[in-house]
Symmetry: C2
Subunit: 406 residues, 2 copies
């Protein structure tokens, strides 16, 4: 059956605006000895494998077939309730199950926000540079972007905030920059966005990864404090996850917000996949009730602190001549900027892959792809000596790049 | 923080085109004693709870942290391979892991098809009436629809098929009509679509639910036979699931197709949720390797056969005066059409809810919402006496409707 001229090579318009950086570093990572400093991956050797096995057995004993059922698209009711209680406790606010939507990782929450709120050409005001996954999630909705400014001396205009479908912020250890936004800047942004009538999305995957001092209140907590005790009905939409504190392979994420918005996000989810896996929800509930995080998170933090410090030393020693960046106080990433903007990190990326190391070049964190002088390096995944080898390869790639440039 | 005029009540445009039938019957189902004949739900008492618990423990012993990891967005490699082998065996074709994308239920596969292939206004040629979940999945892409004709005497025109982004077909026990499409009509459609150069989507969730005679070859199998032994590169995109043969709460679905398309669907999935749960994939692999379906499916079929026959008798006795429909030879649904089109099933639906019974009215299976003279009734979920009570309530609702009409 030969086909005539085929329409089978035509894709939806947004596909042409996507990039294949993720695909490239995933493919490269298959080579033996390759060092990936690219992904935002936890230390896999710390995943609580036995606790998950025990939780699976308990969940099926407790819930039977209910844990194997199509569930409500909002998620397993008992886990929604547990997350509502967790958020109430963390913020001092009043949250019920109706404030919570369970998602396939926090990533799906971002997808659903775009799906429920954004039509082509709509405005998103986003922290810049912007998490690649968020840009990917919203690409099919074809929004336009303006930059969020945290600086109260140069704030976004009221007009800009009013026009936005939502404002996207990562106050704790932003991806990619690792920046921790100070409390006064958080409060000032919240005040402005609340006045504008737009939604304020607080993406908070790294909350538990506080390696130095406590981070202080987030946007949702600040808003709860301003609104008082009634069931939450404010503008903040909070995205959380178990991917960093337990394990990403369960794909447990949640969105917390005003119940009317949660209903629309649930409708968008129903149209995406009917629901996430009730089985993983029932397992996650057992893990939370057994307080696995309390045992697990301190071990993670000790490991990541050591890796961050080791990585910092090797970055200063090996790359300090060409790149500069802060030692992050949490999260998973170093963000290095080329001194005097002298290195095109897109070009460097290709050369680094050939040297057997991957990072994430800054251009993919820019909605317009123009930021080409920085890079994101992960410090949580690999053991210190592997990271050091990766950084030495990166130094070789830089030398090669510079010798070719001049 | 009082907000001025808020933009927080504005949703993306497609939301206004959705309906709340699913929400209505889910809400109604919470009432004590309510009988739902609406959902496409398996008999929950048959879920293999102990087999899943054992598989969970084995999966974590076998794979350790790998089963709790972010995985490739295409899915857990060993399960992709197992599905490729399953499809090779079922069709006689040559399928590798690269032909397979694992999805959160088959539903997500439909969502990804829309995301990767459809821009607003693009044409989908779809079997009519059309699975509500497919219409929901594609709503955010804002396509237009034309009807698929299975009748070789009145086929879709070549121009129409060429213009379609894809053709959507459910040959085995279509949802909602339960119709089994005869082999010659399948072959004729395949031939025409292959010639047109468009994709042909074969949605096949009910394959295992063959209650009478074997169904014969599907579209993918027919295309494999025509193309011969080389790795599959034809136009058929096949959607399968473990939701009917094991349990829906694992959310294990798959798409099988030409590798270039699978890559684009995987990119769309990466933008949706990064990946499904590797843990559920590892558990599903154990269930398949232990051949849980071989033990489980015969019990399901025996149960569903009995329920179908009981439901058929009660439908004829209680509703035969007003509705007519075939006894389905598989799947999960009866499709009843009002004799002489005399009953508006949207109006009947509201009355039925008040009588304590739900069905799905035909309008939601019509992209334009105009088909209002039929209804879908599920026969797999409830025990026969519960179904009988539901049908008696439905008869009361019909009598009430007719007495008010005249």
């Amino acid at each position: 059956m030969a086909s005539a001229e085929s329409t089978r090579t035509r894709w939806a318009g947004w596909i042409a605006t996507s990039n294949d950086v993720t695909g490239q570093f995933l493919a490269a990572a298959d080579q033996p000895g390759f060092v990936s400093l690219a992904g935002g991956l936890p230390a896999a050797e710390l995943y609580p494998v036995e606790a998950v096995a025990a939780a699976s057995v308990r969940a099926l004993e407790r819930w039977g077939g209910t844990a194997l059922e199509y569930g409500p698209c909002e998620g397993f009711p008992a886990l929604r309730k547990a997350i509502a209680e967790r958020v109430s406790l963390a913020t001092g606010g009043t949250f019920h199950a109706e404030h919570v939507l369970l998602t396939t990782g926090a990533m799906q929450g971002l997808d659903l926000l775009g799906k429920a709120l954004v039509d082509p050409g709509d405005l998103i005001v986003a922290q810049f540079p912007t998490y690649l996954g968020a840009l990917d999630a919203w690409r099919p909705r074809m929004p336009r972007y303006e930059r969020l400014s945290w600086d109260p001396r140069h704030p976004n205009t009221d007009e800009q905030l009013r026009a936005a479908r939502f404002v996207y912020a990562v106050p704790n250890f932003s991806n990619p920059t690792g920046v921790l936004v100070p409390r006064d800047q958080r409060a000032a942004l919240l005040e402005r966005v609340a006045r504008s009538g737009s939604w304020l999305v607080e993406d908070d995957p790294y909350l538990v990864l506080q390696l130095d001092d406590p981070v202080g209140p987030g946007l949702l907590e600040l808003d709860v404090a301003a609104r008082g005790d009634r069931p939450y009905d404010g503008p903040v939409v909070y995205c959380g996850t178990l991917s960093k504190s337990i394990a990403p392979g369960l794909r447990i994420g949640w969105m917390v917000g005003e119940p009317g918005l949660i209903r629309m996000l649930a409708l968008a989810k129903q149209c995406s996949d009917l629901s996430s896996s009730m089985f993983t929800h029932a397992v996650a509930l057992e893990l939370l009730e057994a307080d696995v995080e309390a045992a697990h998170v301190p071990a993670i933090l000790a490991c990541y602190r050591e890796r961050r410090d080791a990585m910092h030393d090797v970055l200063v020693a090996e790359l300090g001549e060409w790149f500069t960046g802060d030692r992050p106080s949490g999260g998973m990433f170093f963000w290095l900027e080329a001194r005097r903007g002298a290195i095109d990190t897109d070009a460097l990326y290709q050369r680094a892959l050939r040297e057997g190391v991957a990072f994430v070049p800054s251009s993919v964190f820019d909605p317009h792809g123009e930021l080409r002088t920085a890079m994101r390096l992960n410090f949580t995944r690999n053991e210190p000596d592997v990271m050091a080898e990766g950084v030495r390869r990166l130094a070789r790639a830089i030398r090669g790049y510079l010798s070719e440039e001049t």
